[in-house]
């Protein structure tokens, strides 16, 4: 069975940009606003017959930060944002392949 990449090292929520070093060796960088806009929860991304307008990073204050970071099981991270929003569970594949801002994450996925 194929296993997903997992973080071997993570930056702190006090850092200017969030970083994850993955078990496959890749180093991902994230801006806090993009992470927030990428929230996968039903309220932000919608579900069934609820289709909200997509969030854009610019909608959030430039100094937006997570105030808390938790691991969820063996597969995801949960951020609690300054405004209290905390319903997003970010699975590792989403962070590694979709939200990574290094530019070649998509490429990394296609060659897997």
């Amino acid at each position: 069975m194929k296993r997903m990449p997992t973080p071997v090292e993570m930056g702190s929520i006090t850092d200017r940009a969030f970083t994850i070093i993955w078990s496959d060796g890749h180093r991902s960088q994230y801006t806090w606003r993009n992470l927030r806009a990428g929230c996968p929860c039903a309220r932000c991304k919608g579900e069934w017959n609820y289709r909200p307008v997509s969030l854009r990073a610019e909608e959030f204050p430039a100094d937006l930060r997570a105030v808390r970071l938790d691991r969820v099981g063996a597969y995801a991270l949960r951020f609690t944002w300054m405004d209290g929003h905390d319903t997003g569970i970010y699975p590792f594949p989403l962070l590694r392949h979709e939200l990574c801002e290094c530019g070649d994450a998509a490429h990394a996925r296609s060659t897997e």
């Binding site: 069975m1 194929k2 296993r3 997903m4 997992t6 691991r71 969820v72 099981g73 063996a74 597969y75 699975p91 590792f92």
Partner: protein, 370 residues
Amino acid sequence: MAGTRDGVTREQVLAALADVIDPELHKSIVELDMVKDVAVTDGVVRVDALLTIGACPLRETIVDSIRAKIGGIRGVTGVTVNLGVMSAEQRQTLVGRLRGDGTPQRPSSFLGPESATRVIAVASGKGGVGKSTVTVNLAAALARAGSQVGVLDADVYGFSIPRMLGVHGRPTMIDQMLIPLEVAGIRVISIGFLLPSEEEAVIWRGPLLHKTLTTFINEVHWGPDLDYLLIDLPPGTGDVSITIAQTLPQSHMLLVTTPQLAASQVARRAARMAEKVNMEVVGIIENMAYFLPAVGAEPVYVFGRGGGAVLARELEVPLLGEIPLDQSVREGGDEGRPVVISHPDSAAAAAFRKAAERLRDVVPMQARHA
């Protein structure tokens, strides 16, 4: 309280008491601070001990055990045991000690990544394939092979573990900590123990289910020496499975299926879930694999053949066992004595033992740091 002319010393008595294990908490009563005072007068030993609760169901066991250990010391001519009950404060200290195994902050012994307990969630996808039967028999086989085993009945709506293991009663509660019941060397917790009666139905929404399970994980004293915790999941990939995946990151999944496609295809979905929550599927057990009409007869493949093997190949995980359809398996379950215990010579029991052995190979017991 020093040594007497018979040479029996307080130290000797305390050393002997260190071997008296609390039958519920699985720790020495000395270590648990349950021994209040020891006095030796002319070879007669008096022990003052404190029980956790007044109505401790196992008080006789403790008294007998104390008498036996001290009676074994040379020069002891009599033993008196006085039992008291811990104060709320003393109990609190004890709970702190149990929780963290020394450090009060650590919630449960197997939640941390450093825990030596291997957690195995038994899942199926489809219902009725024999998850609970497989769980109790694997547990019994592992226990017989010398492992410390716990069974967490996570099938809250359709719990059947109490019946299958023949264990009934109410777990002792020590300040918010549940002490699992024990049968055949297996520690067991089930919602069935907490309901007014086992006939009661559980009609709950998801959040209550989640709360119950996290209680079973966090607030049950499984014991620091537990080697394997088997979790009997309900069928499907719902609330319970998600809670387990989120609360026990180190747990493995064992898939149970029957040979027919209707079962193995649904089992594949459980595997798909395992993949999504990054849980390792450690193997497949094919239950009701075949029927032996008579000893030495050709097997009859009632539900088709090889569904488990196909699934195992597809998922690239080992097929840990093919359990024959056998009346003794059903009888064992209904009578509360798993076939591994009730009919150890049957083909089904042998198949379960073999599967447990393979499971121990794929998920070996971990060395403990003392």
